[in-house]
Amino acid sequence: MDFLNGITLIANYIIIPGLTYGSQLALGALGITIIYTVLRFSNFAHGEFMSFGTMTSILLTWLFSNLGIKLGIFPTAILVLPIAILITIFYCLIIDKFVFKFYRQQKSKSVITLIVSIGVMFFSGGLIRFIIGPGDKNFFDGERFILKAKTFKALTGLNEGLAIKTTQGVTIILTILLVFLLFWFLNKTKTGKSMRAYSDNQELALLSGINPEKVVLITWIITGTLACVAGTLYGLDKSYKPFTYLHLVLPIFAAAIVGGVGNPVGAIIGGFVIAFSELFITFAYKKIFYYLLPYEIVPNGLLQILSTDYKIAVSFIILVLVLLIKPTGIYKGKVI
């Protein structure tokens, strides 16, 4: 019984949140990896694109709520997501047309475009705070839990409860759906294959008659979609604050690099590696030891390796280790 209580505790505080946070990071890292392989630069503005997508979802949620349109037990944000995605794509395309396109035509080095993307990041961040303000916004509505801790306790008779939030369930299911769609698109459709071909060998792609402008367009459509969904899911789960997304870009980059930049499978794996490492290292294990060890020998401290304030540091330590030991990442990607 104590053993089962321990397992439930881990599931509740590490596994479910880890899967959720990992999914959000994976979607973000996928966006970065795709921009990196096709357009050949590290897009630091991706966090702000996610923020922009979330902001759009929030504004639309407010609008829909005012009109009295709801989605039952699910958050209204899921209902407005398709419209928010379209607006985010539109924003990405405008930024591309007025900023990135110029540097692409100049055939600028990727480090120059990277710096440009930092400019875009600050511009977008400013624009977003100008529109929605810098404060905390909670836009979650609908039923809060799929599985309540109380219900779980009653069902199993355990001391520890296992709760699954609606946002967690929605995040994991939407991520699976989106990743499946993305891989189907890249591997099975003619357009998807032409995108991979373009990222492999641009000159030969040109000779084969692949239109680079179309590839760029589709790249932004995919990136905008991923950014908007990842951002909205993260915001739903943790509440939205523009500055959070400025920090979020760091674990996302760590995820992309740890997985192997340029490899979509790697981005997903990297997302989960980062998410679980953060949770495992910042979790207070005291309660688990109470269940697993005799009472007398459990130490008094919290048994936490690092305080949760150091969350970001964890992803950086992993990032540095990967760059030192295996710079190509888990799956062989391009070395930056």
Partner: protein, 234 residues
């Protein structure tokens, strides 16, 4: 009458002329080779004819039509195929996807062409789901040629098809080139291995310092004492 020809081409990079007043061409169903020492402008000539490099003077004709101002992609649609010397495959795509990309520009189904290429290069059928980047040099070259053949071009241009492969593989490649020509596709190629190339060529162009030095049938160039001494090692 040439099927594809670059007539009196002058071109080069920045302000320097690499080719001056150079004429190169290939007739329907034949093989033509461009040979010459390093730096003679052989690869430059190929790029100019395919439109990868703008030309300053001269004209390029395909089947009697002036194509001097067309983009490379438009030339592919008109019936030209080009295999660059390096980076001529998509390494992370499978063999079959590489071939499909060759036919990307066409609306029609590529099933027949795929079968034709798998018959021409049986090894590619066995490895069709493998990543092209994992193949050996000779097999990569087959993928590259196969990719360019997917649009069933009237003329196929090969830039050093035997570069970086062993002599045995090279022999095989030359045999395949002959087979492709026999099927009716004209071939214009640049070759380092002048002797082997001229042996299978109907027409040979010897370039030196960007100018036509000799233009004759492959056989007579091989018999030409001057050519032999200067470029074929006696």
């Amino acid at each position: 009458m040439y099927l594809l020809s670059g007539e009196n081409i002058t071109c080069g990079y920045s302000s320097i002329d690499i080719l001056s007043n150079c004429t190169i061409g290939v007739k329907r169903g034949q093989i033509a080779s461009i040979v010459g020492p390093n730096g003679a402008g052989k690869s430059t000539a190929m790029k100019a004819i395919f439109g990868l490099l703008g030309i300053r003077k001269g004209k390029i004709f395909l089947d009697g039509e002036d194509i001097t101002n067309l983009q490379p992609q438009e030339r592919v649609l008109k019936g030209m195929g080009f295999v660059p010397q390096t980076n001529n495959i998509f390494p992370s795509l499978s063999v079959q996807e590489n071939l499909e990309m060759g036919a990307f520009i066409q609306a029609k189904n590529c099933e027949n062409m795929l079968n034709y290429i798998y018959e021409l290069f049986p090894i590619l059928r066995d490895k069709r789901y493998q990543q092209a980047g994992e193949l050996s040099g000779g097999q990569r070259q087959q993928v590259a040629v196969g990719r360019a053949l997917m649009t069933s071009p009237k003329v196929l241009m090969l830039d050093e098809p035997s570069a970086g492969v062993s002599p045995i593989v090279m022999e095989g490649i030359f045999k395949k080139i002959k087979e492709i020509a026999n099927q009716g596709t004209a071939i214009l190629m640049v070759e380092q291995n002048a002797k082997q190339a001229l042996t299978i060529s109907d027409l040979g162009f010897v370039l030196n310092q960007g100018k036509n030095l000799f233009t004759d049938t492959g056989k007579s160039l091989l018999d030409n004492k001057e050519v032999r001494q200067a470029f074929l090692g006696g």
